[in-house]
């Protein structure tokens, strides 16, 4: 019965809020009670009044972030795995540390680095090489780079965990039998590391789906993402049911991706060494 405290907490602090949001999402627009007549109008409005745009921005941004993170994490994980002893531990800790520095500090630093004219990069280039460069701050590219920067560790570490479970003997055996590097990767590394990569990719996608600060700090509002659109509905427009319906759409996308993976992946095997 030691599961009770956690179960109660999650029932009261996670499932109940989602249930309340679900109920609000089928209430008449701009009302504040939970007992109105049930209506699908908010969901209809979500697709007819242009809200699919911020939703699409968020989904495509998250997808792009996930792909870029995977492409960067693969060689990094392989390189980390090839290090030995204390060096591996040292580099791994160095990579992990920034996770514990606030997102707002790191993204702020990113924007200071990219700032035009007096920014760290532009200023240094100007002073050291007398070259004046432009700036990508306040563009979608900058926001995407910020997304990759923030979410990279969340792909790397599950991937590393997956890779670490590939027995070295298996790779050696394949090599002895004449497998090339490419074959080694395709036939052994990739399939065996797949659960770790899948967990990492899922983690990254879901976190990036709600990402908001990257766009605000680095993207300069060049695009409205879904979290921002929801926030506007709640705060400025005072239209809770509309905001709730948009929230439910994000939750639905998350659930559609997460639940099937949970069913397939054996957590025991991934955690236990």
């Amino acid at each position: 019965m030691t599961s009770l405290p956690v179960a109660l907490l999650l029932a009261a602090g996670f499932l109940a809020p989602i249930a309340i949001v679900a109920i609000y999402s089928i209430m008449p627009a701009r009302t504040f009670v939970l007992t109105g007549s049930v209506t699908p109008e908010n969901y209809v409005a979500a697709f007819t009044e242009g809200y699919w745009r911020p939703l699409m921005w968020s989904v495509s941004g998250a997808l792009l972030t996930t792909i870029l993170c995977l492409l960067l994490a693969w060689p990094t994980a392989k390189a980390l795995k090839s290090l030995e002893g204390y060096r591996a531990t040292f580099v791994t800790i160095l990579i992990a540390l920034p996770i514990f520095i606030s997102e707002s500090v790191r993204l702020f630093g990113f924007s200071l680095f990219l700032m035009p004219a007096g920014g760290i990069l532009a200023g240094t280039m100007d002073a050291a090489f007398d070259v004046s460069i432009g700036s990508i701050l306040n563009t979608r590219t900058a926001a995407l780079l910020g997304m990759v920067y923030v979410h990279f560790p969340f792909v790397l570490f599950p991937l590393l965990l997956g890779l670490s479970q590939i027995p070295e003997e298996q790779r050696e055996a394949a090599r002895d039998l004449g497998a090339s590097n490419w074959q080694l990767m395709r036939e052994i590394d990739a399939p065996l590391a797949a659960p770790g990569a899948l967990i990492g990719a899922l983690f990254c996608f879901v976190l990036a789906l709600g990402a908001n600060a990257e766009m605000r700090i680095l993207g300069g509002q060049s695009v409205t993402v879904i979290t921002h659109a929801i926030e506007q509905r709640f705060n400025y427009a005072q239209d809770w049911p509309m905001g709730a319906a948009l929230t439910m759409l994000v939750i639905a996308i998350t659930a559609l991706l997460v639940l099937p993976v949970f069913r397939r992946i054996d957590i025991d095997r991934l955690i236990r060494r």
Binding site: T2, S3, P5, V6, L9, L10, G13, F14, P17, I18, I20, V21, Y24, T76, K78, A79, L80, S82, V91, L94, I95, F100, I101, S102, E103, S104, V105, R106, L107, F108, G109, F110, L112, F113, A117, G118, G119, Y149, F152, N181, L202, F203, V206, L207, L209, G210, N212, A213, R216, I217, T227, I230, E231, F234, T247, T254, V258, F262, I267, I271
Partner: protein
């Protein structure tokens, strides 16, 4: 494969890791560099390098207040989540029981959930319940998100734990309390210390949940977030550095005290 090929690969890999580390730390270094100015506008490289911003930051009430809010939340989160998660970890990793599979999925769900969406859902929920958000509701929101993570952290340590020890103790006539104190708790201790560190750092640095659930109270990351867009001055990066250093100091202190918590009885 030839030897020279191998060493070329090794150099390439080291260089790649170096580039990755460099990219990860460039923004953090940028914050430190920006804080060392005394001009209102950012003009790097600074004409005058100074620590004025730090003197100013340490002298203002705001800095103290922001740290106090973040610290109150983090302390509450550490205490509550460690207690709840320790019980959760036992259910998650060790005891075999009927609902275990379902329980594990429930625990993992909030981890695989967009944080701002959780914050928004909690805001709507609290408002519907008639609760006015302040730092205490932010602490509750953090707990909802942190408990599953701490449960996982403690669970990982528990996988090496052998239930037979407990059974042996019972066979030898130990009471339930004795078994918990002498066997279960010492086994949990290292995980609890790591879990507490995770809880502290995740709460201290959290932005997406705090933004929606802290009401009129402002945490450190929230203040930084609001000041990055408007009202820039070197004070902002200076507070960022102070806040990060404060959390590092607290963690180092806890790490130094670690042997006290996990000593063998």
């Amino acid at each position: 494969m030839t030897g020279s090929n191998n060493s070329a690969l090794r150099v390439l890999r080291s260089m790649w890791l170096l580039v990755v580390l460099l990219l990860l730390y460039v923004p953090i270094a940028s914050v430190v560099l920006a804080s060392l100015a005394n001009t209102r506008y950012m003009r790097f490289p600074h004409r005058v390098w100074s620590l004025d911003a730090y003197a100013q930051a340490l002298g203002t009430y705001t800095t103290a207040n922001l740290h106090l809010t973040s610290l109150s939340i983090a302390v509450a989160v550490v205490i509550v989540s460690v207690i709840i998660a320790s019980f959760g970890a036992l259910a998650f990793a060790r005891y075999d029981w009927a609902g275990r599979k379902l329980f594990r999925r429930l625990v993992l769900l909030p981890v695989f959930f967009p944080q701002p969406v959780l914050g928004l859902a909690l805001l709507l929920y609290l408002t519907a319940l008639g609760i006015v958000p302040d730092w205490k509701t932010a602490a509750f929101a953090h707990i909802v998100w942190v408990v599953p993570i701490v449960t996982l952290v403690i669970s990982i340590r528990l996988y090496h734990y052998d239930v037979a020890q407990e059974e042996a103790a019972f066979d030898l006539g130990a009471t339930r309390l004795q078994v918990f104190r002498e066997i279960t708790l010492p086994a949990l201790a290292p995980g609890i210390v790591s879990g507490a560190l995770f809880a502290f750092l995740l709460s201290w640095s959290n932005l997406p949940i705090s933004v929606f659930t802290s009401g009129a109270d402002t945490t450190l990351p929230e203040w930084l977030y609001s000041r990055t867009a408007t009202n820039y001055s070197p004070l902002v990066p200076a507070v960022a550095v102070i806040g990060t250093a404060a959390s590092a100091a607290i963690v180092l202190l806890a790490a130094a005290l670690r042997p006290v918590f996990t000593r063998k009885r």
